[in-house]
């Protein structure tokens, strides 16, 4: 039995996708959260001086999406063969493109730039990524409610997590995207995810 330790700050940020995977898999893990004032003394313990880091049986793995993809494969949420894995990763990468644009704005920017950047993002970035997600869903979902092949996979969790950040700022962003809305509802309905979300503490980010 492998042991898992996940190191991150006390927030969702770039670690939540991995927490969602561990939750849905029902896998116990040490959810280590450093406050910002604790972080400097732990920085040198991480291979690339960054978090999240996953420690599996003593071996440290950096890079948030590497960790998430690894966990997805460990717990059979990554697709049944190479091609399905690739479809899932195409969706996940599209969601990550979104997070890479939006994350820095809400995590690092201050007012008044923040407000202007958010407006710009909603006007010029978000629509094309949502459209791209729906395009991939049409191509890969076999007509169902999940992104790839009729089962809940890493792709659905990734999109769920990224959109959560954006919905916090504007709860209406999916109004023109009924498939994405339904997909989101389906993820939230999963028993393990529902339980996880009820019990999860509210954090700043």
């Amino acid at each position: 039995m492998s042991t898992y330790k996940l190191y991150y700050f006390d927030g969702r940020g770039r670690a939540e996708i991995s927490r969602l995977i561990l939750a849905i898999a029902g896998q116990k893990f040490e959810d280590i959260r450093y406050q910002s004032n604790e972080w400097p003394s732990h920085k040198s313990e991480m291979p690339l001086d960054q978090m999240p880091v996953l420690e599996i049986d003593g071996m440290k793995l950096p890079q948030s999406m590497t960790i998430a993809r690894f966990l997805a494969r460990q717990f059979h949420l990554a697709g049944k063969d190479n091609l399905e894995q690739a479809k899932i990763e195409a969706v996940a990468d599209t969601a990550t493109d979104l997070l890479n644009k939006f994350g820095p704005i809400i995590w690092y920017q201050e007012e008044p730039e923040k407000k202007a950047s958010i407006s710009e993002f909603f006007a010029n970035e978000l629509p094309k990524h949502l459209h791209n997600l729906e395009t991939l869903a049409k191509a890969y979902s076999n007509g169902g409610s999940f992104f790839v092949g009729n089962n809940l996979t890493f792709a659905d969790l990734c999109v769920y997590d990224v959109l959560e950040n954006i919905l916090e700022v504007d709860a209406n962003i999916l109004n023109q995207y009924p498939w994405l809305k339904t997909n989101r509802d389906e993820v939230a309905k999963n028993t393990n995810i529902a339980t996880y979300l009820i019990n999860r503490s509210q954090t700043e980010f």
């Binding site: 291979p47 690339l48 599996i56 071996m59 440290k60 793995l61 950096p62 890079q63 999406m65 590497t66 960790i67 993809r69 690894f70 494969r73 460990q74 190479n82 091609l83 894995q85 690739a86 479809k87 990763e89 195409a90 996940a92 990468d93 599209t94 791209n132 395009t135 991939l136 191509a139």
Partner: protein, 205 residues
């Protein structure tokens, strides 16, 4: 008729990594290259209006890294098990971070601005990422010339191509990283790669 078709522009860009994977594997494929003026009329054929796109068994796969990772898995260049794949992924993600750092400079159209940006990035930002790569090869490389586990993987191919771009922008950029230099030479020495490089069209990017 090849079962693999790669659609990309007639330059290295985001398509070359996949071409290198095909080359390393000795796998034939249709290397469909578009000139810039041909692209607008073909754009709508691609799922996300972008390239590269891989066509395989009737499926279209977008997103350059998922495509490359899929091909690497198909040809046993992705890591021999889940954990090794994650180590390869961590290196790949770190190289991607490096590319994000230098891209604004690389594509700056104004020559004066470009020179200034390049100088700043090479002096201040790139070392962290190159050091990170050195850390990872020490952690995962088993003391050999390859990034992970003593054999050629996607990680080495990605660094090979990225290193070419770095050296183009600053021929001294790898002087402090003898292992990284040696790693590129090791990739170049592989007979199938050497053959591919000899025959491929020379492209500035």
């Amino acid at each position: 008729m090849s079962i693999y078709k790669l659609h990309y522009f007639n330059f290295r860009g985001r398509g070359e990594l996949s071409r290198l994977v095909f080359a390393a594997a000795g796998q034939t494929f249709e290397d469909i290259r578009y000139e810039r003026n041909e692209w607008p009329s073909n754009k709508s054929k691609m799922p996300l209006g972008q390239m590269p796109v891989l066509e395989f068994n009737g499926t279209q796969l977008p997103q350059s890294i998922p495509v490359a990772r899929f091909l690497a898995k198909q040809f046993q260049l992705a890591g021999k098990d889940n954990l090794e794949q994650a180590k390869v992924d961590a290196v790949v993600d770190t190289i991607a971070d490096l590319i994000v750092k230098y891209s604004p400079a690389r594509w700056e159209p104004d020559e004066t601005k470009k020179k200034a940006l390049l100088k700043k990035i090479f002096a201040e930002d790139l070392d962290k990422h190159l050091q990170d790569l050195d850390v990872l090869r020490k952690l995962y490389g088993d003391g050999g010339p390859f990034f992970v586990g003593n054999h050629l993987t996607l990680a080495d191919l990605y660094f090979y191509n990225t290193g070419q771009n770095l050296l183009q922008m600053d021929e001294n950029s790898l002087n402090n990283y003898p292992w990284l230099k040696q790693n590129r030479e090791e990739v170049e020495k592989q007979p199938k790669i050497a053959e591919y490089i000899k025959n491929r069209p020379e492209m500035p990017y």
